[in-house]
Symmetry: C2
Subunit: 332 residues, 2 copies
């Protein structure tokens, strides 16, 4: 029996619970048992049951009272220690300043010899090397497919399917919000109006800085640089230009040359950048809408391009599911 | 030490030898040893050395005299038995009528308990169920990533990265030759002229029937139906329409509606078809040129689209490499 502790119980954490339910038969057939959730924390409270929590009840409680139980905690890592688990699923909110609670939770779990799955970009963008070293030292699996591109397979694609390739570069669109805004601007909308529509549709937050200034895309660029190119870089190493300076005039000029402007993240041995780029219409990276896309330049296979949904409750949880299955396959 | 027998020594077989050389350091670092080739057959002759063949010499000999040795054989499966090996790499020419030598070689190797890697579409399109059952019964690994889409990861992507998904459908372009011809027709060339150009560039064979009638795409559709949808179908179950009937007028009419015509393979629980389809310009499946592409509709992840080079000496060998590494990882 595999026991999960879920730290962070917002959209993605609850999405994972739904995904586990929907894959009941799959787990039964493949492993003869369900993974059980023995612990959940949100920002304030903790729910534990060494025999497995009733997750329907936890979700209902969270929906109703915005907490997972009446039991508050003072320190999240002490909350993790309240129950015995095998895998920490760290899905608390991203903190790109210092890694925040997510970084402390992941570090603690790895120090305790637990496997970790995360989609939390903060710890990965700030302390990738330290965390992967720690995991290796303690013999822990450490997987983070959903941290880049949501449901789009990219990390495991490079680590597993393309493991024999020398990957020379990755160029991609790693922020669906910016791509949505730029696609709207292609159709003549000015930036402010496109942003407003993105906010109304729930694609952009009230404070859109993290997306439109390119910071979110930069966290993905850092993660790919470390994970795929084995570099040892952090968020502050990325050269970042956002999309706030793009004018309708620039869009029109691009269109006159049969081009669109897209916010492209670029990673190679020597390059680490997020910036608006001119992309020819018809080029894979010219896609419109909220999709994420990555073009991988592999020395034997040649160019491989993959796209998928970069965000979403079930979509992001599906990436966690793929990491979970990979870990369970090895534990069997 | 992993010992390979390569059956078929044309472009792909020789490409594999080159790829193994180029990944010398990779194998050293990951496995502490190189895979060695202990046997090679082409259509007439066999070269063996239980301690590992000098493959530079075999390639040079093949280039010079068009055979791999002076030693002819009467029956390929007897040639396979002349040496002890771990993995058969079956890359002899595709025979879609009865599977030919490739089918006999794969069957024999699996019966002998050997692992098999193939890109040979004939055996897979005709006897998928029998071969996978035989492999399972004998505890053999049986992998065939390169049989669909060349360097584009699709089989292992579905089997591994997306193993927790219910895949509802796959739609894709599985024949680069047809896509090249249709892309040229987009620009106003009639079919015959586009075909001629494809032949001059080496994309199409002198007898182009297999490509332009949709037969090649249909073999890939069958393989995906069996491998991903766990159906038990064969080549004759596919409804096939090729591209020979597509007129410049049809292309022009499509263009007037902002569409292009593409030869699309479609696979689902109930569908098994290759036919020209109208695709909106800008849709991922509207790509031009010789690329292969597949759009996977997964129930949790949503739509995932991948593209890559569908053919080529090194590109196809790169797919074999990924299967080889996966098998060696498990053998370790």
């Amino acid at each position: 029996m595999v026991r999960l502790f879920i730290s962070g119980f917002g959209t993605v954490g609850q999405g994972l619970v739904e995904v586990l339910k929907r894959r009941h038969d799959f787990f039964e057939n493949r492993f003869g048992a369900q993974p059980v959730v023995v612990g959940v924390i949100d920002s304030k409270t903790v729910a534990i049951d060494q025999n497995g929590l009733d997750m329907d009840a936890v979700v209902a409680r969270k929906t109703e009272k915005r907490t997972v139980s009446d039991q508050t905690y003072s320190d999240s890592v002490k909350a993790l220690d309240m129950v015995d688990y095998d895998i920490l699923v760290e899905v608390s909110p991203t903190n790109i300043k210092d890694g925040g609670t997510g970084l402390r939770n992941i570090t603690h779990a790895l120090e305790c010899g637990k496997d970790v799955i995360t989609v939390n970009k903060g710890p990965l963008a700030l302390k990738f090397q330290e965390l992967t070293d720690l995991a290796k030292r303690n013999g822990c699996k450490f997987r983070y497919e959903g941290s880049v591109g949501g449901a789009m397979p990219i990390i495991n694609l490079c680590h597993e399917n393309l493991v024999g390739e020398n990957i020379r570069s990755i160029r991609g669109i790693f922020n669906g919000t910016c791509n949505f805004i730029l696609s709207k601007m292609d159709n003549g909308q000015p930036f402010e109006q496109a942003l407003k529509e993105a906010q109304q549709l729930g694609y952009a937050e009230t404070d859109p800085t993290n997306d439109v200034e390119g910071y979110d895309a930069a966290t993905k660029v850092v993660i790919l640089a470390n994970a795929v190119f084995h570099r040892n870089v952090t968020f502050s190493d990325v050269k970042i230009t956002g999309i706030t300076g793009i004018t309708p005039d620039a869009i029109a000029q691009a269109a006159a040359h049969n081009m669109v402007i897209r916010l492209i993240g670029e990673i190679s041995e020597t390059r680490l950048e997020v910036a608006p780029r001119l992309i020819p219409i018809g080029h894979p990276l010219s896609i419109a809408g909220t999709l994420n896309i990555a073009q991988i330049d592999a020395d034997l296979a040649g160019p491989i391009t993959i796209n998928g949904r970069g965000a979403g409750k079930i979509e992001t949880a599906s990436a966690i599911l793929s990491d979970l299955i990979a870990i369970m396959d090895v534990r069997e």
